[in-house]
């Protein structure tokens, strides 16, 4: 059995969670498939007690779901390493608590994007949604971002499922950069972008590798936008609410593919596959296209 399966499990009690998780995990380990459970400490504890099994890897979801791009690529790295028979099985419980509206929207897009990124992988990902704690819109959108639902051992298709291109392609709202943002109104070359971002990142408290990461992400974004357009681009960088934001804007570019940087790269280059790195390095990446061109926004939390 191979191919990608992505299911939501909307549950409202510990028993309901276990009625899905126990058979899912047991079937995997019995078949010799790798099984990873990324869930709340409470659910990990429940499952461990109900079905002790050393072959299952447990990860606390609060340390795993740090940033949509990074989490996607960390999952992908694990799935890619699975070359054996069958599928790699994952229970992945996204963290929704404490997210801003923009972050919540980004994690919903993450769920939808998995359908594209993992399309050619041998993996089975089940995402539990706890109706006792999660807002109604998060639960409702789970049925729009997962092709099917797994309740107990019963699979039903989600009638509300929306094509990822439609779901992710919905226009992202993006605030205007503040008037006092640092500006690089034109970039002589990629080094210009890197130098500008490195210097201003440091000023705003992103030191060492964090600043280097933002500069590297901005370089990939600038390279992509230059390649897609006439080379004109501008960069703005500022800090607000302990987040350093860097906008790279190209007036002549219209990005048609909302999954740019989310399609697994190959050894041969493909336009935009540098964004695979940018999505991994940054805490957040948004793309907005309008009549003024395209803006790719990168965000990094300031160092504590």
């Amino acid at each position: 059995m191979s191919g990608f399966v992505h299911q939501a499990c909307v549950y409202g009690s510990d028993e309901e969670f276990l009625s899905m998780a126990v058979p899912f995990v047991t079937a995997g380990t019995s078949a010799g498939e790798p099984v990873v459970v990324v869930a709340t400490p409470h659910n990990i504890d429940l499952l461990r007690r109900a079905q002790p099994d050393d072959r299952v890897e447990y990860i606390d979801c609060f340390s795993w779901y740090t940033a949509p791009g990074r989490t996607t690529l960390n999952y992908f790295d694990r799935v890619r390493s699975h070359t054996g028979p069958g599928r790699m099985r994952v229970i992945g419980e996204v963290v929704w608590e404490g997210r801003t509206p923009a972050q919540t929207a980004a994690w919903k897009r993450y769920e939808s994007t998995l359908n594209v990124t993992f399309a050619d992988t041998a993996s089975w990902i089940v995402c539990p949604y706890d109706t006792r704690t999660l807002p109604a819109d998060v639960i409702a959108d789970a049925r729009r971002t997962h092709p099917a639902h797994l309740g107990g051992s019963e699979i039903t298709s989600c009638a509300e499922y929306v094509d990822p291109g439609t779901f992710v392609g919905e226009a992202v709202t993006m605030s205007q950069p503040p008037a006092d943002a640092a500006v690089l109104p034109y970039a002589l070359d990629l080094h210009s972008v890197r130098r500008f971002v490195t210097i201003w990142s440091t000023v705003h408290g992103l030191h060492g590798e964090r600043g280097d990461s933002l500069a590297a992400a901005a370089t990939e974004v600038a390279a992509y936008l230059s390649e897609m357009g006439d080379g004109r681009l501008s960069v703005r960088l500022w800090s607000q609410s302990r987040t350093v934001t860097c906008d790279v804007h190209a007036p002549s570019v219209d990005i048609a593919d909302p999954f740019v940087g989310y399609r697994p790269p190959a050894l041969d280059p493909h336009p935009g596959d540098g964004l695979w790195l940018a999505r991994y390095l940054c805490d957040h990446l948004d793309i907005r296209c309008d009549s003024s061109g395209s803006t790719i926004r990168l965000e990094m939390m300031e160092d504590l």
Binding site: L73, D77, R80, S81, A179, D180, A182, V183, L184, P185, Y186, L188, D189, L190, H191, S192, R194, R195, F196, I199, W200, V203, E209, D212, S213, A215, A216, T219, E220, A223, P265, L267, P269, D273, G274, W276, L277, Y280, L281
Partner: protein, 286 residues
């Protein structure tokens, strides 16, 4: 110790440089370099010269870009820097530079780059040189947030005077070579094994140069070693080149990367290229 050459992009706050120029177009191009360098470094830039305003209009930039820089106060022009030039007055120049630097810092800029097309009259030479020397000391010790770049029309200078002008500055830039960036990448063949010591940065703008040298040192049937501890940055295109190179190696032969930077290791890992059997990493922590 006076340096005979560096790029205009390498001038930093605290530097006091002179650029003797022969052609007006070189001065214009240099102003463009100084503007770019200042913007990259988050500095305010002040162009000083009789026709600084009109030169700005001749720069190959969108008018809207320069207008918005002027409007936000990051870019300014002055016909003269008070006290600098004919009837030079060192105290006056120092006071003016201090005030300009203070205003730039207050506005949130990370420094002030002052580019002067120095007007001069031979009779004022001694005063002017005294002024330059005073500025050198000032920038080195006190006004370390200011870079001053003095452009002299060498057509107006006798050779002996030009030598004196150069001697009054710790850095002299060649007007043509200063328009280029200093090379980002330095490649040196290894002596004891086949490979390269790689220093600097590689991105899509110089990856072809790197590829060509890589091809030239590669010997079929031999491992290829790259010493990367001084490679500060490599973009995805550069890391992909490493992976593609390794992928072409026959079994039993390896591309060995010694001490790659975290960004190289991260890229190899998340693109899955660290799994290539012909690519070996020695040293370097992710």
């Amino acid at each position: 110790m006076a340096r005979s050459y560096c790029s205009g992009f390498a001038v930093r706050c605290g530097h006091h440089a002179c650029v003797p120029y022969a052609r007006r177009e070189d001065l214009l191009a240099l102003f463009g370099v100084h503007l770019t360098a200042a913007l990259e470094c988050g500095e305010k830039i002040l162009f000083v010269g009789e026709d600084a305003g009109s030169m700005l209009e001749q720069l190959p930039l969108a008018t809207s870009a320069t207008e918005s820089l002027v409007a936000r106060g990051q870019l300014a022009t002055r016909p003269v820097l008070d006290g600098f030039g004919p009837a030079a007055d060192p105290d006056r120049v120092v006071a003016v530079l201090r005030a300009e630097a203070e205003a730039a810092t207050f506005a949130g800029y990370l420094g002030l780059r002052v580019c002067v097309d120095v007007p001069w009259i031979e009779s004022d030479l001694a005063k002017l040189l005294a002024c330059e020397q005073r500025i050198t000391a000032l920038l080195a010790d006190e006004l370390t947030e200011v870079a001053l770049i003095c452009h002299y029309d060498s057509g107006l200078l006798e050779e002996s005077i030009e030598l004196a002008v150069r001697a009054a500055h710790p850095i002299t830039l060649d007007a043509v070579r200063a328009q280029r960036r200093e090379p980002l990448l330095h490649l040196v063949p290894l002596r004891e094994r086949i490979g390269l010591h790689v220093r600097g940065e590689i991105d899509r703008t110089n990856v072809e140069e790197f590829a060509a040298v890589l091809r030239s040192v590669h010997r079929a049937g031999e491992n290829l070693h790259l010493e990367l501890e001084e490679l500060r940055y490599a973009d995805v295109a550069a890391v992909r080149l490493l992976a593609q190179t390794a992928n072409l190696f026959p079994n039993g032969h390896r591309l060995v990367l010694h001490s790659p930077a975290p960004i190289v290791l991260t890229t190899l890992k998340i693109y899955g290229w660290d799994r290539l059997p012909t690519l070996v990493i020695e040293g370097g922590d992710i």
